[in-house]
């Protein structure tokens, strides 16, 4: 495994112009994995899926599902029935800023990974959905894609193998919900992007009603490395339960915020105090949100000895999410912070389900009341009961994502909420 201090970066290497195809090919063994998969008889489709499954690349979109295992859920190919790959580059979960770096510094690994995935699952095309705000990075991706087409690495008869796989970019237009897999599909299809009820699952009924797999763009970006270096290599990096390189997005009250590539499973304290240079202004740490705004917050005491992988984080009742970590110092007003997070989910709810549409609105209303000093102890209970009525009761997981931070911030920083609510003015009965 080695020490993280001597770790050699893979996904974000310090190689100038790595976004250019010649550099990617020359310095990064770029497109060799695709060539191997398409031309070496050793790599039949099943073998590719199995290798990826064995590597246990855990989805980088937030849920951490084994990518190869997801690929194996695709039904057997039916002649004449097209199949698609949806590549999720919507990156909108607050705190997450890693996919953008990949678009800028290593766009070809996403494209190569997507084409390998399409080959492995016998798909006709890959659609890379990128949030509209990333206009400049969409241009970078389009350039990379044009380079790949020009070299015959995408499109018809790739590398003379007879395999045809189209790769296309789709620009979003500002809606967090489009990162949810079925909403993304509706958006790509040109509909109003309301998430779909599941089942049917995308592997059965996905894009344009056809079998579809959806992966985060970073997840796909790991694939060429696994094919080139093997699953054993991949598993030798980082945490056993969640192996591989990890892009840690560290933001907030630290001296050196940034996106850092290291092995998975690093100590949170190493990331904050060594990698990110400690808390700004020598202040004290108050809280850490380890993986995007929806995952349960940790108090300063809770991070001791905890590493950035699912198993370790679970012992503190939280999740890895997108590994976009927000560090909050002692001056942070947790009520205000939570109120802003809740406003985000209220703003982004698509409004399809009542518990989500009404629930997110009520969370904001009550938190505002508490923040302004007008709340009561009963409002704190009300927040929890609202969460009870949102979690697991809606078409998609946005309602859960909205409820978790409320439940956990309130539980773990209760005294801050209590300090803001009005003291009961009723005299105690004697």
């Amino acid at each position: 495994m080695g020490d993280w201090r001597t770790y050699q970066k893979n996904l974000l290497p310090d190689i100038p112009n790595f976004h250019k195809i010649e550099v990617y090919e020359k310095e990064g063994k770029g497109y060799q994995a695709l060539r191997a998969v398409l031309t070496d008889p050793k790599w039949d489709r099943k073998t590719v899926v199995n290798e990826v499954k064995d590597a246990n690349i855990r989805g980088r979109g937030g849920a951490g599902f084994n990518a190869g295992l997801k690929w194996s859920f695709m039904p057997p190919k039916q002649e004449g029935l097209p199949r698609y790959l949806a590549c999720n580059g919507d990156e909108s979960e607050p705190g997450t800023c890693k996919d953008r770096r990949l678009f800028e510094y290593n766009p070809h690994t996403i494209i190569e990974g997507a084409i390998i995935a399409c080959y492995a699952m016998e798909m006709d095309a890959a659609y890379i959905y990128i949030r509209g705000e990333y206009a400049d990075w969409i241009d970078i991706m389009q350039n990379a894609l044009d380079e790949a087409y020009a070299k015959g690495y995408a499109g018809k008869n790739i590398m003379g193998s007879g395999v045809d796989i189209g790769v296309y970019l789709h620009k979003g237009a500002g809606a967090y919900i489009c990162g949810e897999e079925t909403s993304l599909m509706e958006s790509l299809e040109g509909k109003r992007p309301y998430p779909r009820s599941k089942p049917p699952f995308p592997a059965q009924v996905g894009l344009w009603g056809k079998p579809t797999t959806i992966n985060n763009v970073e997840t796909l970006g790991h694939v060429p490395y696994v094919i080139r270096n093997g699953s054993e290599w991949y598993k030798s990096i980082g945490a056993a339960n969640q192996p591989g390189p990890m892009l840690y997005g560290i933001s907030g009250h630290v001296n050196r915020p940034g996106v850092y590539e290291f092995p998975s499973g690093m100590l949170i304290t190493d990331l904050i105090y060594t990698v990110a240079g400690g808390i700004k202004g020598g202040k004290k740490l108050k809280a850490v949100v380890p993986g995007g705004s929806s995952v349960p917050v940790l108090t300063a005491e809770m991070i001791e000895g905890i590493t950035m992988d699912a198993d370790s984080l679970r012992t503190r009742g939280t999740l890895l999410g997108t590994a976009g970590m927000c560090v909050l110092d002692e001056t942070t007003d947790m009520v205000k912070f939570l109120l802003r997070v809740s406003k985000f989910y209220d703003h982004e709810s698509c409004g399809q389900c009542t518990p989500c549409r009404e629930g997110t609105g009520w969370l904001v209303k009550i938190l505002k009341k508490i923040d302004s000093g007008q709340g009561t102890m009963r409002d704190l209970d009300m927040l929890i009961s609202l969460c009870d009525n949102m979690e697991g009761k809606t078409v998609c997981a946005l309602a859960d994502a909205a409820a978790w931070p409320v439940r956990n911030t309130l539980t773990r920083f209760r005294s801050e909420f209590e300090a803001k609510v009005k003291q009961s003015t009723f005299a105690m009965a004697r």
């Binding site: 997450t96 953008r100 206009a135 789709h170 500002g174 290291f262 705004s293 927000c326």
Partner: protein
């Protein structure tokens, strides 16, 4: 009298839309790229612009409107030329985003809708822009990012926008991870 825009796509624009149509198995799927094109051409998506998209793709107006109205980056009202969207979400909320938005509002003399006094710049709060490590962040008119906002950076930005100068793309370098001696 001011030009009334003609609600037509040029042959080159039609071709561009057809290129998008060809990417998807159904032409309806090209509605978002077509809306993007219409917005770039007309500055905002008026009912006439949306009707043009509908006619071009042979879709009902209601469908096109239903899509356009869902997304924040499509402007359904006539807006000033330049937009400063300051992220006030999550990380930005604790690193000065809201203060930066207030500063922008004050500088441009924004009204309740965020429109500046001379009608050239408007502003609003943005949700997470995916650049939390360079918080606080702003996006300019659906494209350029301005990272690590300060009052001085806002001053310079507004000066440039007032002169219709282009805001350059700023690439955030990868951190040198080699030394962690501190």
């Amino acid at each position: 009298m001011a030009d009334t825009p003609v609600f037509e796509f040029s042959p080159a624009e039609i071709q561009e839309i057809q290129r998008h149509v060809a990417k998807y198995p159904e032409s309806r799927s090209a509605v978002m790229p077509a809306l993007w094109l219409a917005q770039e051409k007309f500055g905002w998506l008026s009912p006439e612009a949306m009707q043009l998209v509908a006619t071009t793709l042979d879709l009902p107006y209601s469908h096109v409107y239903g899509v356009a109205s869902f997304y924040t980056m499509y402007f359904k009202e006539k807006v000033p030329k330049h937009l400063i969207e300051v992220c006030t979400c999550f990380t930005c909320s604790v690193t000065g985003g809201p203060e930066m938005l207030d500063y922008v509002k004050e500088k441009i003399g924004a009204d309740a809708k965020g429109i500046g006094k001379d009608g050239k710049i408007w502003c609003r709060a943005a949700e997470c822009l995916g650049a939390c490590d360079t918080a606080p962040v702003a996006q300019i008119t659906n494209r350029r990012y301005v990272h690590n906002l300060t009052e001085e950076a806002v001053d310079e930005l507004i000066e440039r926008l007032n002169k219709d100068e282009e805001i350059p793309f700023s690439s955030i370098p990868l951190k040198n991870q080699a030394n962690f001696e501190s």
